[in-house]
């Protein structure tokens, strides 16, 4: 269990992917405020992970209002480009080029701890199942394996309704 002390000297982000556990695979709850738990903030490797996921899920649109963010991963899915696992793999690694550049631009402008700096991402497995796809990804920060998993800490009272 993390404490406020773990957050000293770090910048935080709002937790959007709840339930992360460094020791197991589990489906995350995607929302900013969670009933019973309220809102929470996150830092460290999990902050990097959710930033990575946002970049992966955001559709890059050079003519849009946020032209330098996101990648083509979800666009490929929407356009029906995923017919087999190889398509997903190709789409993912093509998208990593944009994601890596986005991280690089921001990490050159601002100093981040090593466990919040992107180094690489690889696909562990892909399962295409009807209209669903499960992609397992290993994300590595500049800290490599030397990081402490800092769990989110709540910032709002427990019950929100």
């Amino acid at each position: 269990m993390s404490s406020v002390a773990d957050y000293v000297g770090r910048t935080v982000d709002l937790t959007a992917f709840h339930g992360a556990d460094p020791d197991s695979n589990r489906v995350l709850l995607i929302q900013t405020l969670v009933d019973e738990l309220g809102g929470s903030v996150v830092t460290g490797i999990q902050k990097l992970a959710q930033t990575f996921l946002i970049q992966l899920f955001k559709i890059r649109d050079p003519d849009g209002l946020d032209p330098n963010e996101g990648c083509q991963f979800i666009r490929d899915a929407i356009q029906g480009g995923w017919r087999q696992t190889a398509d997903v793999t190709q789409s993912f690694y093509a998208s990593l080029i944009d994601i890596a550049r986005n991280f690089s631009v921001k990490e050159n402008r601002q100093t981040f701890p090593d466990d919040e700096r992107y180094q690489s991402a690889v696909i562990d497995s892909i399962i295409l199942d009807g209209d669903r796809v499960a992609v397992s990804i290993t994300l590595t920060s500049q800290a490599g394996s030397t990081f402490n998993f800092i769990a989110p800490i709540p910032i709002l009272p427990g019950r929100v309704s």
Binding site: I54, L65, D66
Partner: protein
């Protein structure tokens, strides 16, 4: 209804600026929050920046149009509906645009009866026109029973022709196609050979812009009387038929171009005379007419000089006669050269006589008469007697409404009790433009017609300024180009037709300037630039990037 801006109206730069401001404010009060990336940045602050941006756009619309002062500062920025609301306080309404109408001739190889349905589409220069009633073309004159029955007549080449009227599908001056423009039906009738505009289309005007509306406001508030220049303009524009006059210039006492008030033996201006230069339409009005010419001279090469005379009611505000052809000529291109043009004045039998003493003073007014002599290089005159006659079709180019305005301001109830006002079409400077657009290989097509329309619109609405800058035209062209395209220098050639009949050419790639010659009635106060899309040449050149 004022149109609210939506997110699609935003640009990325505005959103980025809003986002930076929000990020700075958040960090100022919460330095531990990471606003550079992640959930805060992408899911909260970004969308807040978008919503703020849209709100700011709507606020900006309000600021730009909240008062007369703000609107007058830059009328182009204000939302038209907001301007309408503000000006409604002064009982001023924006004048709507109107659709162009005109007649087209359809040539077929057969003379069978043909029905053209309502809504039949015709395309000219990428612009769409439709019929607004059913037309039935018939070869038998006895079967012509109504206005919509059209007689098919045989041409001397064995083909058949009839005419119908069409209307533009949208309002605006860009639909004012010129005489002889090819107008192609979307569905070709049996035996179809060609179809073209029989004369310049008319009536197409744009909706009044904010700038025009604000200008009219000043005149709307002013007293409508023949007094000072604002009052005079207000009086004229308050009359519905004259409300869409494009520009006017009033020359009076003390102006060097006013020579009519110096008609005494004393070299002094005595006042009491007004020369009122009026441009009623953006485009030059070209009207096709058929006239009977008289053979006045046989030339040594067996041809002859033919003469046509127009009385003052036939050529009010007319600059010149163009494209003279035999009445039954098939070609729409070319014509006989005019060897002599004699412009005179006729002020006979007028209830109120305007003080005009020279032909130059009366040029381009409703009191001018015109005689032209041309050499018909197709008709052998050896066996013809002098004074033989023959019909010719020709085109009159000029500014409409000059006679109507003159009649109005000369009427006893309206005219000034101590002055006469002579209404004139402006001294014309006919402009030809030539330019080249350089484009990378594989560029998308450009709408050349739209560029020509915009260039013509820019030239024709300059007002009485006396200078036409190439840079303004380049700016117009660039609006249609992508960032990799370039425009050459724009070659501008102007032909000024002086009221005394002389011609002066001016050319430049920087600025066409009208040199002051007030004794000959030529200055920035009297001259207008005229061009039309057919007088604009645009060529394309593919720019191949050099290998590095």
């Amino acid at each position: 209804m004022i149109a609210e801006k939506n997110i699609a109206d935003l640009d990325p730069t505005t959103v980025a600026q809003n986002l930076e401001e929000l990020q700075a404010r958040i960090i100022e009060s919460n330095p531990n929050i990471d606003v550079s990336r992640g959930v805060f940045r992408d899911l909260i602050l970004f969308y807040a920046a978008v919503i703020n941006g849209r709100t700011n756009l709507n606020l900006q619309d309000y600021w730009n149009g909240r008062s007369l002062k703000a609107i007058e500062a830059d009328p182009t920025l204000a939302d038209p509906d907001l301007v309408d609301d503000v000006l409604s306080n002064f009982r001023l309404e924006r004048k709507p645009g109107s659709t162009a109408v005109g007649e087209i001739a359809i040539v077929r190889s057969i003379s069978t009866t043909l029905t053209i349905a309502v809504g039949s589409e015709f395309i000219a220069n990428g612009k769409s026109f439709v019929t607004v009633q059913v037309y039935t073309a018939k070869a038998d004159e006895a079967q012509i029973n109504s206005d919509t029955d059209r007689l098919i007549t045989e041409l001397n080449d064995g083909n058949f022709i009839f005419t119908i009227d069409v209307t533009a599908t949208d309002v605006g001056t860009e639909f004012l196609i010129t005489k002889d423009t090819v107008v192609v039906p979307s569905v070709l009738p049996t035996g179809y050979l060609t179809s073209y505009a029989t004369s310049n289309f008319r009536d197409g005007v744009n909706e009044e812009t904010n700038t025009e509306l604000i200008n009219r406001l000043q005149q709307g508030i002013a007293a409508r009387a023949l007094s000072n220049r604002v009052n005079m303009a207000a009086m004229l524009r308050n009359i519905d038929a004259f409300s869409r006059i494009v520009s006017m210039s009033i020359v009076g006492y003390g102006d060097p171009e006013m020579i009519r008030d110096r008609h005494t033996i004393f070299p002094l201006s005595f006042g009491g005379r007004v020369d009122w230069y009026i441009r009623s339409e953006e485009l030059l009005r070209k009207t096709g007419v058929t006239k009977t010419a008289t053979l006045v001279e046989k030339t040594t090469d067996s041809y002859g000089m033919w003469q046509v005379t127009f009385n003052r009611d036939e050529v009010p505000g007319i600059y010149e006669v163009r494209n003279i052809q035999q009445a039954d000529a098939q070609s729409v291109i070319g014509g006989y050269n005019i060897e002599e043009e004699i412009r005179q004045i006729d002020v006979s039998n007028l209830s109120f006589k305007i003080d005009i003493t020279t032909e130059a003073e009366g040029a381009y007014t409703r009191f001018q008469t015109l005689t032209i002599r041309f050499k018909d290089t197709d008709t052998i005159t050896t066996s013809l007697a002098l004074n033989s006659t023959r019909d010719y079709k020709m085109e009159l180019a000029g500014v409409p409404l000059i006679d109507s305005v003159q009649d109005t301001v000369s009427s006893r109830d309206v005219r000034h009790y101590g002055a006469d006002a002579l209404v004139k079409a402006p001294v014309p400077c006919f402009v030809d433009l030539t330019l080249t657009i350089f484009r990378p290989v594989g560029s998308d097509d450009i709408d050349t017609d739209a560029i020509k329309d915009s260039l013509a619109g820019e030239v024709n609405t300059l007002g009485f300024v006396g200078k036409l800058y190439a840079s303004k035209l380049s700016d117009v062209v660039h609006n249609f180009l992508s960032p990799d395209d370039s425009v050459s220098a724009i070659a501008m050639l102007g032909r000024i037709k002086y009221p005394n009949g002389s011609i002066q050419y001016v050319q430049s790639t920087e600025v066409l300037k009208i040199e002051d010659d007030p004794d000959n009635l030529v200055s920035y106060r009297t001259v207008q630039f005229f061009t039309d899309p057919d007088s604009i040449g645009i060529s394309f050149e593919t720019a191949i990037a050099p290998e590095i």
